[in-house]
Symmetry: C2
Subunit: 279 residues, 2 copies
């Protein structure tokens, strides 16, 4: 028996499209329906076999037993309160948003069986044309249940991600937003600021190091605007911390301190080896 | 006829070793000698055929017609004044250091035929064990001549880099240090500071974006200490500019300005497409 009868993916871009491909590839559902804003994207999603059928109407989620919200966080916050009028009581709803506190606050008030999800498997590219079914393989997916989430529902969603190849880890919304502010939102803010301050005519002098460092600057600005603004408090906290670290280094350089500068760089750089996968 | 009779590489690490391999591969010299601090590195460099013979003594450069200084900038500044006592009048000397003003100032005072070089072709790995003959292919090499550099000598060095596959571009030392401060030294300072401010137990939550962004944090801390301290004025100027850009974004987020935040991110991010090679 399939894990779900009908999965509805709301927002068929990079992540939504990749989920559709992976769900179909793993035989997780009998049917995958995609809901989007624009006819063109929906047609493209069907053409690429990421979804079986498409719709421009949110009401099309009505007989799904799993709804996956794959829109930018700002959109998710608009869609969430509308869901209960369309879906039946047993339908599970998950999302893939990069911030969790505002979404979980709204979900707690809603009447839907919601489990917040954050697969750490994005990339700087966007759109269904870049969707790949393998992007969740060997990735980490963070799960944020509601206070009243039933154990069976949580297990079903854990099973869902496991079939797609992802490890899952439970976390509360505020820890999620604190940690991800440091490991994802701050790096994006720093890279956008770095690009902002470099004169365009200097860019041709950039080597592979600058290219790699600023790759995430190619990320969708609207997606990231939403992430920044729905995690304002934590992002501002990380920027404060980052500025302290930068000012520390700045002073070592200003005061021409070779030993202390080397220690700072050695200590900070060694953290790069702490990543689970050495890349 | 070979371009050089005997090339001496002082410092046989990643860049020195790669130069040795490339020089031998392209048949640029009859003989390549490597000079290093440690017997072990020299033996390894010979074993990997990056050099023909090795020595621990700087005096071994004596009958070379090209000397390439491949040590960290701090070392280059110590070695430069010693060269004239060993080499003959017609020997050309080049370096591969990442900052140029201090080196060129010293070279101007020395009695050697020096042309500053900066191949934008490094990577975060170090040591002769990572040397690859192809790293200069399709790269840009910046050349900084002295006031009295002879045209013929400059042409010979341009030819040298061209044979290795690099484009060359003439630049003065202060423009070099200003531009590279933005495109290379600042990004390194920012990445080291970013790593400094992230709690170690948060690192396992880092995804591929953070990994790419912080790859240059794996760079040799002593090499970068030298780069930062020999380009202090320009690096401090870029940090000031960067802080302004970051504070601008910080205020947009603090004041919850969706439109202006999106414009900022869109404008900054679009610069990432300006790189000559889209990666």
């Amino acid at each position: 028996m399939k894990l779900f009868k009908k999965v509805a993916i709301v927002g068929v871009g990079l992540i939504g499209g990749s989920l559709g491909l992976a769900i179909k590839n793993k035989g997780i559902a009998n049917k995958v329906i995609g809901i989007g804003h624009r006819r063109k994207s929906i047609d493209e999603a069907i053409r690429r076999k990421t979804i079986d059928v498409g719709s421009l109407e949110l009401s099309s989620i009505k007989d799904a037993d799993l709804v996956i919200l794959c829109a930018p966080v700002g959109e998710i916050l608009k869609i969430l309160p509308k869901l209960s009028q369309f879906i039946n009581l047993n339908c599970l709803v998950i999302d893939v948003g990069s911030t969790k506190s505002e979404i979980m606050k709204l979900a707690q008030k809603s009447k839907v069986k919601f489990i917040g999800c954050h697969p750490l498997a994005g990339m700087e590219k966007k759109g269904v044309e870049n969707a790949k079914r393998g992007i969740f393989r060997d990735s980490l997916c963070l799960l944020v249940p509601l206070k009243n989430t039933a154990k069976g529902d949580l297990k079903k969603i854990q099973r869902f991600w496991k079939i797609l190849g992802a490890r899952t880890k439970l976390i509360d919304a505020s820890s999620h937003d604190r940690i991800l502010a440091f490991t994802s939102h701050l790096p994006h803010a720093v890279v956008f600021s770095l690009l902002d301050c470099i004169r365009p005519d200097y860019l041709p002098y950039g080597s592979s190091g600058l290219k790699d460092t600023t790759r995430i600057g190619l990320s969708d600005p609207y997606l990231w605007r939403d992430i920044f603004l729905t995690n304002r408090k934590e992002l501002l906290f990380t920027i404060k911390n980052f500025k302290k670290s930068l000012t520390h280094l700045e002073l070592l350089v200003k005061n021409n301190q070779p030993k202390k500068t080397a220690v700072y760089l050695q200590k900070a750089g060694s953290k790069r080896n702490e990543f689970p996968d050495k890349a």
